[in-house]
Symmetry: C2
Subunit: 208 residues, 2 copies
């Protein structure tokens, strides 16, 4: 389709570079901005620019941060000997929102994926190994998604961590039936794991 203006063509092209946004949605967004006060476009434009140029990666855990070291890593009340390995920032946010985790994180920045051409060197694995070695970490928790790539990454990390002079305890988050989920609708692998990894009943009561 031909656009009636070069400026409109440009903005539609730029917006539709974003994932999950097609030309039609991009056009709708551009026309929306045109109906709103110019202030909104200015704010949006400035915020994008500032975000991309000023946002930092925490040099300890590689989480997104406004400072050199993120708020979690800078918090002395947290247990810095307990490190939870996650894929990206959204996983940190999800775990933080439970309010149950008192350790710190390590953001890998993705998973090892031969198909997508992502190898160990594209992730923050080297940094994790250095961190575990130099900061006397007791336990590393794997909290990657339960996919083929997630499992591959877990195995790779397990091997590397086990080869360290002093290797930490290594655990993974529990897989099982969601709280409130009915057994009959659970998939077989999850159900099987939840039986294999059953916990003492007294322990399950304490968690309430």
């Amino acid at each position: 389709m031909e656009y009636p203006s070069k400026l409109l063509t440009q903005i539609v092209d730029e917006i539709s570079k974003l994932p999950g946004i097609g030309k039609r949605t991009a056009l709708r967004l551009a026309l929306y901005l045109l109906k709103q006060p110019e202030e909104q476009s200015k704010d949006l434009s400035a915020t994008i620019l500032k975000f991309r140029s000023d946002v930092k990666q925490c040099k300890v855990c590689h989480n997104i941060s406004d400072n050199e070291v993120c708020d979690i890593c800078a918090d002395s009340r947290r247990n810095h000997q307990l490190v939870c390995v996650v894929e990206d920032v959204r996983d940190v946010m999800a775990i933080e929102s439970t309010g149950e985790y008192k350790g710190v994180f390590h953001v890998l920045g993705g998973k090892i994926s031969p198909i997508e051409g992502i190898g160990p060197d594209d992730l923050t694995i080297e940094a994790l190994l250095n961190r575990v070695e130099n900061r006397s970490v007791d336990e590393v928790i794997f909290a990657l998604s339960a996919t083929v790539d997630g499992d591959t990454t877990n195995f790779y990390l397990f091997k590397k961590l086990s080869q360290l002079p002093v290797s930490p305890r290594i655990s993974t988050i529990a897989r099982g039936i969601s709280v409130g989920e009915e057994l009959q609708y659970a998939d077989e692998i999850t159900l099987a794991r939840s039986i294999l990894n059953r916990v003492p009943f007294e322990k399950s009561i304490k968690q309430h």
Copy 2:
């Protein structure tokens, strides 16, 4: 959910002001920009700013344009005595993409909608009336969507145009069964209209 960075909170807030984009999608887009070269964010930011500040409305037809007068209105080969009234830019693009229409347009900027608080003064109706009166327009085609608001707007325009000293012919685009559509799946109102507004068979052949 709490974001690990103020800059991230800001960009998520700004992006999720756009219609149809929630906080979760906004977060996904922000993280995407972070993974892309900074150049992409700079381009996006600059394009939004430039679009909003530089794009113009054609002073004749109110279509979006890079200049004072849009390419369609500036084209002397088009029939300026034939004006098609549409709701917004996307309708102009849709009609232009057929390659069949040789007249010009008038972009209303919306429809009269008492529920949404849009009255005649919020649209470019006054400009249309002046245009018809001063530029000796022969025919005005209504091409608004067939909704209650569309019909309301059509009736209002019809009344106003009929009251002009020299009133133009007034027509609406044909409603009927889509080409390729099966009769049994058409809604009753459309089917009824397509029978009432039947065309001589010889005429329908010529259109192929």
